[in-house]
Amino acid sequence: MVSDAPHEPDDSPQDSPVRELARLWVQSQSVISAYITANVLDVQHAEDLVQEVAQVVAEKFDTFDRNRSFVSWALGIARNRVLKYYRSRARDRLVLSETALTKLEQALENVEHEVEDRRAALKICLERIQGRRREVLEMRYTQNAKVADIAHRFGMSSDGVFVMLHRIRTVLYGCIHRQLAKEGAR
């Protein structure tokens, strides 16, 4: 007999709450990380916050309403953590308001299904970034370097570095779009 009862976790090895949580988190982690890293400049702090969110999600998973979207719920926790972080530390940058953060969460939830495809496309697109542009991008992302530090390293002005980073992102964004369109046309 096929049951039409709403899905609920049980204690079987396959569907234990632990496994359900792990599955949901793995599906949502990129979006949550993207949300936090976009709004917290310091990579170390961002990583810490992702961990804190993870901890809270795990601890409160018993209270998670299965009728809700998991990513929405987890992003709400992430928002609280980000706001708490803003309050407890001197801000190193201007940040979005709570209302805007909430709006961004909703938008991220809408694009969650694109995560895998966008990542695969980006992997291809990144190979096309070469030379100094690549070095600048790597310094920005692998060393969490600030624009001023990159400028000093490459003998450029800060504005020059910023423009270069922006152009690279724009190129990558467009490249992803084209890659996805190409895949969709197949």
């Binding site: 990129s30 993207a34 976009a38 992702v50 993870a54 991220l108 966008r118 600030k146």
Partner: protein, 598 residues
Amino acid sequence: MSDYPQLDHLLSRYLDGTVNADELAQLESHLLADEKFAEHFSRWCLLHQQISELFTERALHEIMDQFVNGTPGLPKKALSHLASNSHKPPDTPTTFAFTGHRSADQGQPSVGSFFRRWLVLGAAAAAMVVITAWLIQHRPNSWLNDVPTSRDSANSNVVATLTQVVDGVWDPHATAFHPGQLLSQGNRIALQSGMVKVTFECGAEVVLQGPCDFVAESQMIGYLKSGKITANVPHRAFSFAIRSPEVDFVDLGTAFGVNVGSNGHTELHVFEGEVLCSQPKKEAAEHNEVIHVTADKAVEFNALGTEPADIALDKQQFARLISVRHAAEAPPKQLVSSRLALWLAADVAVMADAKQRVVAWPDILYGDNRAAEDATQNNEHARPTLVPQAINGHPAVRFNGQSDFMVTTPLETTDDQTVLMVCQFSSTAFDKNRRWGGQILNYDGPPGREANGYLSNTLNPGVLQIGEPLLAEEFKSTLLTGQVFAGFVGSATVESGRVDAKPVGADSPVIVSYRYDYTHGRASLAINGHPYGEARAFAPQGITSRKIIGRHAWKELFFHGDLAELLIYNKALSSSELADTTVYLADKYSIPLDSSGK
């Protein structure tokens, strides 16, 4: 082509942290009013995150190449600046691991712990798997060859360590063991004369006097066929047993002596606590009789099946054995004795070979330190050297920075710790070819954590480490740092309670004190009484493990210098206790204290 070219410019500025107030207001207004732009914004966030992810994976593969090319260790910190968190789940089932936070039911795997395991494995999963596999294959095990490979005692063949030999003459028909040698299950110790001390993995210490014939049967059982022994059994070794041909003795937290003579005549003398004795009956149908023997009592058994008889306690016949264990007993000092777990002092007890290379460094029994977890080194090529007047006229144990180290027997240490040491770096610490830091103390002695434990998980408990910063990018010769390494979170190392001091230079004796107060969440490091700050202590570290002195747990990163004294407390000393102990060491070694830091 983007639908929002002007706003894209602001998005980049936001992600780089350079947006100004007007620009932010512009972004916000569009974000709130335009659903399509909100999704566009969120895709930029994804782009920002995923660039990090992909560069992380590539960088990890480059680190792999460094390993293959022979760099001395995993540059863990090198990973920390990489953005983390790939979204890929592991392909293989995971096992439970533990979070870095204490929970009420530590014995049970928590949802959080499983979650963290997934999270961490999800972080750069592919590269981690590769690195883990590589480490398992290439882990430098040469110094671990004769130690257990698992903490699971059921799977371990090592049951004890021969920690001391005093004028030992071995039976020519039996194996001759060396101080520091690990004993496997079934190893027979047959002495013609002299004495040896065997420290079982459970913590029980047995001193044997020749002639005797003894077999280490397991981590909790020894078999005395003949001869005389004393046993000191700490609480954690409760129910440790000595079997003999006629009687089995089960410890209930004691110190006792057993003498098995000819014709099955056996005597038990209980110095402290209580011992259960079980004498098998000759008739199979009869039940074994169990008797209790308490402190200051003695009983004799014989092979004729007669009832055991009370006899007068004769501690004197065990005096020589007792003296072996108490050779490193110290008279009262002006230092804290409460919760003392380990005390090594080069001026009190060091056992060296003919070339003054240190074979054993006995743990001094003092105050609450009732069990001797001696440090030993069986390999003559890895023995440090005893230098008689190394530090202001006091002896010290010199580690050459190339191969020397020692390992204690399993020592129970708690989440709260205080470590004090008197040491000095050698001039070789400034060798221009050094690129990685050496460690003076590391709590992850063999059997250490599995490589995948380091690489794919947070460690619970963490590993206390004191020495120079390990990694090339942080390394400064003679800079002292203390921390509890607690594994990885994503691609970042977790260093709980890390406090760095400053380079202290060569040939400059110092008193190092590292206090890790997990209960109150803070750690501190001081040199000569001068504090170098506090850090958050968030990782538990309580464990029974061998402690390594003079090197890292599994990388060949050694201490260049002298160690005269080492104290480990199973608590966070109070400020006054720490000050008193520091003053005691300063007075003893004529090391001036920095009063400005008090």
